[in-house]
């Protein structure tokens, strides 16, 4: 056993949440299956873009750390940021402009808005919006899928036109569920949803593997890497609006919106779990986070309807980032009043 110890750390020696380093490792771990699937589906362009985004994110962090005379070369959070930007970029985006756009936007975020957790603007959303401004044509390619969202039963239409290939396991599982579960409530689900959730073949990798995103969310919630207030409020409010009004706008039918399709068609769940509650950009307390989530859901429905946008959610995030300080102001004034009563009574 060592006689003396060079580093003495303070108590406690037990924690209820993972450290930033561990949380970043967990996020990277849950994203890695999506990267592996990109490789197996021969989406090499997307993988190259992810590598470029990773490099740009790490490079900006590295330069920033040198200027700020930090001991570490770069933080794991920079890797997470890079992977997320890469996954949200359409596969056809030209590589060299992409690199320079990312470098300049990330520097801008770091030095104009503040570094990690001090920026009130989500760096991933900001970078992608800048990339969209310079190359919106690459985001709007292959919008065919999105046209189908406006019809009443999008999955049926997509299958009929051969745009979704129904996988074998899809039929088996849906048949099983229809026989043993949905039949009791007098309902039936058509095959195709699971295939769509497994791989929607969208041009943006983050929109593709919905089931993996869902599984990742289970890990993130159970390990307490993310808190559930904002994402759940976001999903609930957006889902509610889609279910009630998605079809009513076009056909005047209330309560017939396809929630599942909306959730899996525009990277909605990916945004909810990985991007919405970015450190420093959302309110601090549960009440504020719930309001933040609900507002995000409403804005998302206004901007993307039931999934008709490749970049709409990034604009949604930037908009709620602007609203977030106001929510925090209200939150703080309520807190101050409450605290004053407590402090006075203790005196």
């Amino acid at each position: 056993m060592k006689k003396t110890y060079t580093t003495i750390t303070l108590s406690p020696f037990t924690y209820l949440t993972p450290s930033i380093k561990n949380a970043s490792t967990i996020i990277l771990a849950v994203l890695s299956p999506q990267l592996v699937l990109l490789f197996f589906t021969k989406s090499y362009n997307s993988l190259i873009l992810i590598v470029i985004a990773l490099f740009a994110s790490v490079f900006t962090d590295f330069v920033s750390n040198i200027f700020r005379r930090q001991k570490t070369l770069f933080d794991l959070q920079a890797l997470v940021q890079g992977v997320l930007i890469g996954l949200m970029t359409p596969s056809g985006y030209p590589l060299i402009p992409y690199f320079f756009i990312l470098i300049s936007s990330l520097f801008l975020v770091k030095y104009f808005f503040g570094g990690f957790s001090y920026s009130w603007i989500n760096p991933v959303a900001f970078t992608l919006v800048v990339a969209y401004m310079f190359g919106f044509g690459f985001f709007n390619k292959n919008m065919l899928f999105l046209d189908y969202i406006q019809v009443k039963e999008p999955i049926t239409q997509l299958i009929q036109e051969g745009l979704i290939r129904v996988l074998a396991f899809d039929r088996k599982i849906i048949d099983f569920l229809n026989t043993h579960l949905f039949s009791y409530i007098g309902s039936e689900v058509q095959a195709g949803y699971l295939s769509y959730m497994w791989d929607s073949a969208a041009i943006i990798p983050a929109f593709r593997f919905g089931i993996l995103t869902l599984l990742a969310s289970i890990v993130l919630f159970s390990t307490d890497v993310i808190r559930y207030y904002a994402p759940i409020a976001f999903i609930a409010s957006y889902g509610f609006l889609v279910a009630l009004f998605a079809q009513s706008l076009q056909y005047g039918i209330f309560g017939q919106g396809d929630i599942i399709f909306a959730f899996f068609s525009s990277g909605f769940l990916f945004t909810a779990f990985f991007l919405l509650d970015w450190p420093g950009t959302s309110p601090l307390n549960p009440f504020g986070k719930i309001v933040f989530g609900i507002l995000s859901g409403i804005l998302a429905f206004i901007l993307i309807g039931s999934g008709q946008s490749q970049i709409g959610l990034m604009f949604t995030i930037l908009l709620v980032n602007i609203l977030s300080p106001m929510i925090q102001l209200v939150e703080e004034s309520i807190y101050q009043k409450k605290l004053k009563i407590i402090v006075t009574s203790k005196k």
């Binding site: 060592k2 003495i8 108590s11 020696f13 037990t14 209820l16 949440t17 957790s117 101050q336 407590i342």
Partner: protein, 428 residues
């Protein structure tokens, strides 16, 4: 409140009996008591008896005793468990023990006036380890002007990773009651609240309680110690109010003095058996040992010799912590001695040490949500460390902090929030 099972994530083994630790070949007695340097009353080469006064605390007139019989080797600056170099006296074991293995006659303490009892407590060097370690006699003395006081006794540890107090409460119930009654009598207490772990303690009979607390109202209050935090004075008062005010519809008193089971036991030893503070009961546990133990340890025993007693480490030790994994302190030197306020040694294996690397605050707000006193630990931290502007109310709210360290435990940036608030409190 947080379930203790989420905080102490290793198995806590049951301990049935108390063992005596190996006697140290050389005892290292710190000359610092309650933050005050004590003047030595012995010289190098002199022979001392077990329990003999070796230094005097000039501020409180309290004393430090030799925990073993032997020869004074030297006075030197010694690395204490907290990493600081402090004045200490080294005593080499030699000669016959005065208390160890000897039967002691009980003193008829009820005939002794309070002023004499306080003097005896000062003389015995008894420390109150309920919260921050303080000289018990000094605390009692401060309450002498008040006509009616209220004593609180906690029979479980504030840090749930330690079992010392619960063990003492279970195995020395009568002695604790007698010790506590002496303290209660000394402060002229009209009411005594005994807070116990509802899963680990059997309330003694009324006859036994009345034997020691003849004219004092004693209330036993069960506490759900499977939840954290429960150990601070604030938690004590909350638990008392919950039971007395709400359930029994009576008006409860505010606790003026709070002690724990080990302080009550030390008081018993000092006033009834005339044994000064020379040994401590310590819980040794962790993920590195095949068994946990409760040991009677002589003050000044090097930590290394205690660990050696528990045999080989099945797993490589990563961190040695004194006084619990939540509120304790990682030691700097394995040869550091056991002090008068040591209650536990926890050894964590390397794989059980959590990541403690600091990062800037990520403004997640978890500390706001978890704080039982509704504080904003991150704002107070930013104010203290980075001079961030905060309102006067937020600044004053730091005084409410009970130092439960829940804010530290939920902080992904691993910021020393609780410690910083403690410093801020001292400044205010």
């Amino acid at each position: 409140m947080i379930a203790v099972a989420n905080l102490v994530q290793y198995e806590q083994k049951t301990i049935e009996t108390i063992e005596s630790a190996f006697l140290p070949h050389t005892a290292v007695i710190s000359l610092l008591q309650d933050g005050v340097y004590c003047e030595p009353e012995v010289s190098i080469g002199e022979n001392v008896q077990e329990g003999q006064i070796i230094a005097k605390n000039l501020k409180y007139n309290a004393y430090i005793h030799s925990s073993i019989p032997g020869k004074i080797l030297e006075f030197k600056k010694y690395i204490m468990p907290n990493g600081r170099k402090e004045n200490a006296v080294l005593i080499e074991l030699e000669g016959e023990f005065s208390f160890l293995g000897k039967k002691r006659e009980k003193t008829q303490w009820f005939n002794i006036p309070t002023s004499q009892r306080i003097k005896d407590l000062y003389r015995a060097g008894i420390l109150n380890t309920f919260g921050k370690t303080e000289v018990l006699a000094h605390q009692i003395e401060k309450l002498q002007n008040k006509r009616s006081n209220c004593l609180g006794i906690r029979l479980y540890n504030a840090d749930p990773s330690i079992a010392t107090e619960i063990f003492i409460a279970q195995h020395y119930t009568e002695k604790i009651l007698e010790g506590a009654s002496l303290v209660a009598d000394s402060i002229n207490a009209k009411t005594v609240y005994v807070l116990y772990s509802q899963d680990n303690f059997i309330v003694p009979s009324d006859i036994l309680v009345k034997k020691f607390f003849r004219y004092i109202d004693v209330h036993f209050i069960p506490v759900k110690t499977q939840y954290y935090p429960q150990g601070s004075l604030h938690d004590m008062q909350t638990n008392i109010e919950r039971l007395i005010n709400k359930e029994q519809k009576k008006v409860c008193q505010k606790v003026n003095l709070a002690i724990d089971a080990s302080t009550a036991l030390d008081t018993y030893k000092a006033l009834v058996l005339n044994i000064p503070l020379v040994e401590k009961i310590i819980h040794v546990s962790g993920t590195c040992f095949s068994r946990d133990a409760i040991l009677k340890v002589k003050i000044g025993t090097p930590i290394r010799s205690i660990l050696d007693e528990l045999g080989d480490f099945p797993q490589k030790a990563g961190k040695i912590i004194l006084n619990g994994i939540i509120k304790g302190r990682a030691i700097a030197h394995i040869n550091g001695p056991i002090l008068g306020d040591t209650k536990a040694i926890t050894v964590l294996s390397k794989k059980n040490i959590p990541d403690q690397s600091y990062s800037p605050c990520m403004q997640c707000g978890r500390c706001h949500q978890v704080c039982p006193m509704l504080l904003q630990p991150d704002s107070l931290f930013q104010h203290y460390v980075l001079n961030a502007t905060i309102s006067q109310t937020v600044l004053e709210s730091s005084e409410l902090c009970t130092e439960c360290a829940l804010c530290n435990m939920v902080c992904p940036s691993r910021l020393p929030l609780s410690q910083t608030i403690s410093l801020l409190k001292d400044e205010i």
